[in-house]
């Protein structure tokens, strides 16, 4: 079976008049689709670019030179890196266990993986408050060790990890299911160790799915607002991520700065999107090969 093309040929009607009607109908449908996307996405994107540059190009330099803005981007970066590292690593472990092992409770584990998608991010932040706030389950435990969780980096990382858990797992599991068992068996029979098999046989198989999951997690971690807003305390220069900075700047009536930071995030997302699209296509291509 050849790789699927991403356009299927439409059926052509018989008579000339019918063809004209069909062309009109097709044109109208395409126009409606394009108009919908334009209204919802394209125009607002243009709007934000315009609004950001309203005070002049110098606003970019002004905003990006502010220490609190720089710290916000840095913080977003740190949280994202830690989150993606943890969720990718352990995501692989979980995916492996789900696909290659059979045990009682496997279906439950599978369901638990989906839980983060069912929760609103604010609920995740709330959970952190319940666990580490006044009278929380772990409050005394961390206080005794002098670790600050809430209103500091650890809680922000923890909530972002929670939210990003499903991405890697959901992308890798189908690929692991479809491929590789025979190859892995062969490799083991030939004397390779578990680790060698994983590195040389499994990893190349799931490579694109894994990267796709990483890209999705990255985008999600960068964009997180609801949960981090609750746990961070919005301390400028300490616990403000880029998204939280936008939120705070609007409150400070620094609309121009808020728009610049939003624009930067939008630009980063678009770059990520290109990567996501490309990886998605590679992933689909790999999955459709026999």
């Amino acid at each position: 079976m050849s790789a699927p093309s991403d356009v299927a040929t439409p059926t052509t009607p018989a008579t000339g008049a019918a063809r004209r009607r069909s062309r009109l109908a097709r044109g109208a449908l395409a126009a409606a689709a394009i108009a919908y996307v334009a209204l919802l996405l394209l125009l607002p994107l243009i709007g934000i670019v315009t609004k950001a540059f309203e005070p002049g190009v110098s606003i970019i330099g002004d905003t990006l030179s502010r220490p609190e803005v720089r710290h916000a981007f840095l913080l977003t970066g740190i949280i994202t890196v830690i989150t993606v590292a943890v969720t990718t690593f352990f995501g692989l472990v979980v995916a492996w266990v789900l696909v290659r092992q059979r045990f009682l409770g496997r279906a439950l584990m599978n369901a638990v993986v989906d839980l983060p998608f069912a929760l609103s991010p604010v609920t995740v932040g709330l959970a952190a408050v319940l666990l580490f706030g006044t009278g929380g389950w772990f409050t005394d435990f961390v206080a005794a060790r002098g670790i600050q969780v809430l209103f500091a980096l650890p809680s922000m990382v923890l909530v972002t990890i929670f939210i990003c858990i499903p991405f890697t797992i959901r992308e890798v599991v189908p690929v692991l299911e479809e491929f590789g068992l025979d190859e892995e068996d062969a490799s083991r029979t030939l004397g390779a160790s578990i680790w060698q098999t994983f590195r040389r046989v499994t990893l190349p198989n799931i490579r694109w799915a894994l990267l796709y999951g990483v890209a999705l997690s990255t985008a999600r971690a960068i964009g997180e607002i609801g949960a981090v807003l609750i746990v961070s305390g919005t301390i400028s220069g300490k616990t403000e991520t880029a998204t939280i900075y936008i939120f705070s700047a609007l409150e400070e009536r620094l609309e121009a700065q808020a728009h610049v930071v939003a624009l930067v995030l939008a630009a980063v997302s678009i770059v990520l999107l290109v990567g996501i699209e490309w990886l998605h296509r590679r992933n689909e291509l790999e999955r459709s090969r026999t």
Binding site: V93, T123, G226
Partner: protein, 286 residues
């Protein structure tokens, strides 16, 4: 985007019978790591929410719902989510159809744009909408002349939800449309069926599970949406305050038990939906 949550198929079985203790330990070690990871990172927080919300029976739940605008917030959330779901079910299917069946310049760009809401922060989406449809913005001012206000009304909420969930139905339906054998539609055309009839009787039944799956995902996503809605809606209790923003306010005010009660209600709804989606979209795969 790949398919929704998958139940692990029965096809891949662990065929290595661990005949050595070391191998068995490795297996268990990995399983233990997975259990600890998911247990600590997912199960514990969710348990905290449920136990806080319903730890003392229904008291917190009743107190939370007794707050005058709590029910209104929940109702508003469910209604706007349902509306956005219907809109995106229709437009999503349309978009998938156009992207799959038609060739036109800019098709690739359109396809990528559809995925944009997955990559862009929801807060930025909200800001984008305000920038264009806000009270002092171009389109906003234009619509104001006709008495239509977008920002700080349910219209804005609906718009935000539609933008944010745009890709969900499209990405469920697209692969199904690609797999569809054009022979059936050609047969229908030969028999004299018009395009619409052919679509209704041949295509729709085939994509319906995908649409339903996408719709359920959309709904679940909508009832938890925060970033875009908090900027666009104005959060006016009783009018434009949604459940997620309400939970945020309660959590922020250190009223965790009440927040947890509402949160548990909302996430039970979405969790059930996500599980059902898994069933439904599995049937799509052949």
């Amino acid at each position: 985007m790949s398919d929704a949550a998958q139940t692990v198929s029965g096809r891949s079985t662990a065929r290595w019978a661990p005949h050595r203790t070391a191998a068995a330990l490795r297996h268990l070690g990995l399983r233990g790591a997975a259990i600890v990871y998911l247990g600590a990172m997912v199960a514990v927080p969710v348990a905290a929410i449920v136990s806080s919300g319903f730890g003392d029976g229904l008291t917190s739940f009743r107190t939370a719902l007794a707050i005058p605008y709590a029910w209104t917030a929940i109702r508003l959330t469910l209604i706007t989510a349902a509306a956005a779901t219907v809109i995106n079910a229709v437009m999503g299917t349309l978009l998938a159809w156009v992207l799959v069946r038609y060739r036109f310049p800019g098709r690739r760009v359109l396809s990528s744009m559809v995925d944009l809401p997955m990559a862009i922060p929801t807060l930025v989406t909200g800001l984008m909408i305000l920038t264009l449809y806000g009270p002092n913005a171009p389109i906003g001012k234009f619509l104001d002349r006709f008495g239509i206000q977008v920002a700080f009304t349910w219209v804005g909420i609906l718009l935000a939800l539609c933008v944010v969930t745009l890709p969900l139905v499209v990405r469920q339906v697209q692969p199904v449309l690609l797999e569809l054998d054009p022979a059936e539609e050609e047969a229908a055309a030969t028999l004299g069926a018009g395009a619409w009839l052919s679509f209704r009787k041949v295509v729709l039944p085939a994509v319906r599970p995908a649409i339903v799956g996408g719709a359920l995902l959309t709904f679940a996503r909508c009832i938890g949406e925060f970033g875009s809605v908090v900027l666009v809606s104005g959060n006016i209790a009783g009018k434009t305050l949604t459940a997620p923003v309400f939970i945020y306010q309660l959590a922020n005010q250190f009223r965790p038990a009440e927040a947890a009660a509402i949160a548990t209600l909302m996430f039970t709804i979405s969790f059930v939906l996500v599980l059902v989606t898994a069933r439904v979209t599995r049937r799509v795969e052949v």
